[in-house]
Symmetry: C2
Subunit: 135 residues, 2 copies
DNA sequence: GTGTGTGTACTATGTAGTTCATACACTATA
DNA sequence: TATAGTGTATGAACTACATAGTACACACAC
């Protein structure tokens, strides 16, 4: 049994594959320090229980994370977060890039001028938390 | 037959349903003035031919747009862009809102500070067109 | 009337992706 | 040995989507 903090009340949307949302969840935890290098993570079955998903979905997420070098698994010992500093540093950049590229591409297609864009982002950012509720 | 400009070389990603991408394509054309209020749009069959999609997919997209009041169809006359100024004005806002909310929510989860965020957006915006390749 | 072109509706099929259920191999421990 | 915990692998069920094919009602031009 590992620590069980922060795994409850996780909401998944029905638009993206659950296993990819799980991967992103781990990446966000890593970036924000709620998950440290070398730290042991829950087993597939335990995570599935915590997140109320199927163990196979958890397995698929872990396998994806292994391929991305985010976690390591030796034999049948519990998986752990990688110690590779380079990988860990890259996660933040990857998340930011992905979000920003999508956003920029969208507003470009609309032909939104830069200044209006900046103002919008600033205003939205300062707004009260919200708009995150999806499906 | 209507004008055939701007319907070629449209690339669809495999992540989102094609019919919704068609809807977004129309919204972007409306916002950027490449499609005017009241203008006649291609028939279902013609659009399907132009975009190289199935006529049923085109039909589904048009039906979706009818429900959103983006286009109108009277009898069996060719469909036209709505004249409703309020609806047309709302499209731009809707596209912007959607893109921005997603983006802001993402960077919030990462805990990215506002100033760094602004700088990133400005830099990305000025960059040469790119990063749009999905699939 | 006969074409042809509208919009619309329906069923069926194929495919891809996600999730589920189950089983297996291995290790540690009582 | 038996039990329970790991990670892993495979096949089935289910869903959403795109596509194909067909059909119908209507309007306009010839």
């Amino acid at each position: 049994m590992t620590n069980e903090e922060g795994w409850k009340d996780v909401a998944f949307n029905s638009r993206d594959p659950v296993y990819l949302q799980v991967v992103r969840l781990f990446m966000e935890k890593l970036v924000t320090g709620r998950l440290a290098a070398g730290q042991v993570i829950p087993s597939r079955r335990e995570l599935a229980s915590l997140l109320k998903i199927n163990p196979n979905t958890a397995q698929k997420a872990y396998k994806e994370m292994e391929e991305r070098r985010l976690i390591v698994t030796e034999g049948n010992a519990p998986s752990r977060v990688t110690e590779d500093a380079g990988v860990l540093r890259g996660i933040r950049a990857a998340l930011v890039e992905e979000a920003a590229d999508e956003f920029i591409a969208a507003v470009r297609r609309i032909g939104m001028p830069a200044d209006e864009l900046i103002e919008l982002v600033r205003r939205k950012y300062d707004e009260r938390q919200g708009g995150g509720a999806h499906d």
